[in-house]
Symmetry: C3
Subunit: 191 residues, 3 copies
């Protein structure tokens, strides 16, 4: 039975960099994790079933269909973890026009039952800087206050995830010029 | 199938003003919401069953009876939403002498399954000012710190509501002299 | 049917002092609570079943076994509360190397169904001071920031506990030189 570690963080916090760094370091110790992006996994399921042709169509699916796909994805990932350690790359919550949408609602948690949820965080000013400097992806601009609010909400909902599953919640800080420390903290969780 | 939008906020934040403003504006667009006060709905159920004569008696009901009434109210409101959009006016949590009481415990959420929970918020100093200046209703005085604590708790428990139901959580700020903006934000959620 | 009051607080906040003070005062009024330490209760169950000889072995038990023991402890405490008021001394969350571990996960809450969860809190600086001055037990040192983070997480997860059980969440502040006030607040919850 492998470990199931969920890694989350607001856009621009550097989540992928920290995951990649940690997996590289662990590979040197012979510890292997299979990285799974929750959204991509769900999309592949939907595509195989002929429900969508591209990712944009995912958002237009009926709410009940989305729910069924989320549950199927969670169940599929849990099955993979029977033989392997998995890192699940997803969001604690997603900021939408109608508010914060939970990344791991009850029906996902019930199937997935993660061991750990990691929140990669840093100061809102650093995140804002990174978002403004990053031109590779289009992102809506929001002020530092709104990023702080999002990170606070992510902590609160992660606490609810822990109540429901018994998993631990680990906060890993990814500060400017201190990536090594963030990677080290992540390695400690995964090892 | 109509939308189910729960609107919450601490006493004095101006929740009712924001709801009324948003419903007026939407009526002009032909979008109709039925406003339902959760507490009143529950009281009417209890009165019809001959359990109480006035609202004061509601608090003295046995805990299990209250629970049954809450569940019945949630189920009744969900039934109404089959044909109509509903705004449910209630509290994220209520401050009592023995602590914060959840407005939407598990058995209410399971029946109601809201689409959105709105938290109407503003700075604690503004709320305190409004409470002190409002003589139309008796309110217990509490300092700004205690209001900040209550609003923070309301966010945290709203996150738990989102985990359990998959609903979004939208924070609408209702600042002094900026009511139009709060109404506009609420309209965006309801439209 | 007795009351079930869960009392929590980070190490060094003075939880035990507040509990003892409150129970003494209530004894004078003829109100009796049975104090139960959740961890000790669980350990006694495990020892009776011959699963462990000392408390250190508890941590090395299989995750599923721990879960079963937690559930059995919660169920046993709920049974005691049939005839007596109980104070359950435990943690909202425990800080571990892999993150915050919930003290009352879903399977514990479902059996225990507490009436109130008390969070004994104070400023992080005071807690740090108390930890540094207390040489009777070995504690890992952490800065004030990390204590503030832990207390914030404890509030968030207590909100999730309230959502799931309908219990209230009471924050009791135990400030330096103001123990009497903390005891009085606790007495108000227990009376």
């Amino acid at each position: 039975m492998g470990k199931k570690v969920v890694v989350t963080g607001v856009p621009g916090v550097g989540k992928t960099t920290v995951i990649t760094g940690a997996m590289d370091r662990l590979a040197g110790e012979g510890i292997v994790y299979e990285p799974i992006n929750f959204g991509t996994f769900m999309f592949e399921l939907a595509r195989k079933e002929g429900m969508v042709a591209d990712r944009d169509e995912m958002r237009r699916l009926d709410r009940d269909v989305q729910k069924r796909l989320q549950r199927a994805a969670a169940s599929g990932i849990a099955a993979i973890s029977g033989d392997a350690n998995v890192i699940i790359d997803t969001h604690s919550s997603v900021k939408t026009p109608v508010g914060y949408l939970p990344g791991l609602p009850e029906w996902v948690l019930r199937e997935l039952m993660p061991d750990v949820i990691v929140l990669v965080e840093t100061d809102e000013d650093q995140i804002l800087q990174r978002r403004l400097g990053d031109e590779s992806r289009t992102r809506d601009m929001e002020g530092a206050r709104s990023i702080a609010e999002h990170q606070q909400f992510n902590r609160a909902i992660a606490a609810a995830y822990a109540m429901y599953t018994g998993c631990t919640v680990k906060i890993v800080r990814n500060e400017n010029f201190l990536l090594d420390r963030a990677v080290e903290d992540m390695v400690d969780v995964l090892r």
